[in-house]
Amino acid sequence: MNDGVSTPIWLHIGPLAIHETVVTTWLIMLVLVVASILMTRRLSLQPGRLQAMLEGVVLTLENAIANADSRNARRLLPLIGTFWIFLPVANLLGVIPGMHSPTRDLSVTAALALVVFFAVHAYGVRQSGLSYFKHYLSPSPILLPFHIISEITRTVALAIRLFGNIMSLEMAALLILLVAGFLAPVPILMLHIIEALVQAYIFGMLALIYVAGAMQQTTESPVTTSSRSTSGAP
């Protein structure tokens, strides 16, 4: 029985159970990749409207990243840009009747949060080597447990924040649809659109701040600052 929160299993491949959210993610990936291939197939030095729009989107993403870390904007663009492209589509998918946002699944948001978690350390180590981990011992080794707790809690907060907002919006729309009938949840769907875009932006921006903070680590730890910045996020 679908409780509105759990996602159904579509198929089994051996011992692996493929849930609906995974299939939806594949569908989104397919759409994004095919659209990208189609739009970048005939790029020219004299851009048309579509190419100008596409270049505007990519350059806007790069500039937004450069505002946080101007030196590594080009390196961070694939990861952060993909968050800012994938998450709005994934969040807004629930607006389409019969479809569900993959981000209403905690497993998906947890996976994305884990990607951010590992990306932070991967970029940090790539930037500073193993000395990157020294910032956990600063300003005092006594603070090491608190740094670890901070890493875990901000990752959990990333996952829970996106999951909770998207799941609650879909649940609210579903309940209003069940109680009030057709067209009644339209206002809440408009709120869903805004909230989906805001949450996608917040998730990508937080990921950018975490990764940029890790890449700028030397002796002091901006992770604490980044952690503080998450406290004000919805």
């Binding site: 929160v5 759990s6 996602t7 692996l16 159970a17 493929i18 849930h19 959210t21 995974v22 993610t25 594949w26 990936m29 994004l32 990749v33 990208s36 291939i37 739009m39 970048t40 790029l43 020219s44 030095l45 851009p47 190419q51 596409l54 270049e55 990519v58 350059l59 790069e62 080009r74 663009l77 694939p78 990861l79 840009g81 993909t82 492209i85 994938f86 993959p102 699944d105 905690l106 497993s107 998906v108 947890a110 996976a111 994305l112 884990l114 990607v115 799941m167």
Partner: protein
């Protein structure tokens, strides 16, 4: 709401693949074309900058050439003005010299003309004076005047310097001319006086010459001496030439 680790793992893999695919098919082509366009724009800007620099260099060269030409023009004009001034000064100097010469020539001509006029006027005046005097003295001339002139001759001749009388001493016979016939005493007094002056004995010839008006003329060879109105008036008229 439970966490499915299979889904988590698959989603992680899905997202990483999506990152790679978008990087491959979206970010890289778009950024490449943007960079290519920026490179073209930069090349165009560099080309425009080069053209601008060449234009500036040409403009600078043109300006320098203009300045050089202007300087050469000024120098040539200055040189021409100097030559004109020099030539003008030379011509003015030569003109001034010619003018001075002309002025001197005119002054000399004027002086010469004045002198000629004065001489002619003087001669004319002397001639007229002599004429007037001759006309005036002609009625006054008589034997008494001649006698007084002979007396005056006899008084003065002894006081004359010896060189004035050298012609008399070196001459031959003595001719004594008078306007009126001389009395014998006058003849004897003249003869004695002249023989005393001649320091030797000479023959003396007396004759009458009315053109003398009054007085005496003594001639010996080429030497002539006299004290008469005609010779005195002629001497007066010819005194200018002396």
């Amino acid at each position: 709401m439970e966490l499915d680790w299979t889904t988590v793992a698959l989603e992680i893999i899905n997202f990483i693949i999506l990152v790679w695919l978008l990087k491959r098919f979206l970010y890289r082509p778009v950024l490449n074309i943007v960079e290519q366009r920026q490179a073209n724009i930069k090349a165009s800007l560099d080309q425009a900058r080069d053209a601008q620099e060449q234009a500036d260099a040409l403009k600078r060269q043109y300006t320098e050439r203009l300045q050089t030409w202007e300087q050469e023009k000024q120098e040539a004009r200055h040189k021409l003005q100097e030559e004109l001034a020099r030539e003008k000064a030379g011509k003015l100097e030569s003109l001034r010299i010619r003018l001075d010469q002309e002025v001197d020539k005119a002054r000399a001509a004027r002086d010469s003309q004045n002198q000629q006029w004065r001489r002619e006027t003087t001669e004319q005046a002397l001639q007229m004076g002599a004429g007037f005097a001759s006309t005036l003295l002609q009625p006054l001339a008589d034997p008494h005047l001649e006698e007084r002139l002979i007396n005056l001759f006899c008084q003065r001749v002894s006081a004359w310097p010896p060189e004035r009388l050298s012609g008399l001493r070196n001459g031959g016979d003595i001719e004594i001319s008078t306007a009126y016939p001389l009395q014998e005493s006058d003849q004897r007094r003249l003869q004695e006086t002249l023989q005393t002056l001649a320091t030797d004995h000479r023959s003396v010839l007396f004759q009458q010459d009315a053109s003398l008006l009054a007085g005496v003329r003594i001639a010996s060879g080429g030497w002539t001496l006299g004290l008469n109105l005609a010779d005195e008036l002629r001497g007066f008229a010819e005194s200018y030439h002396e």
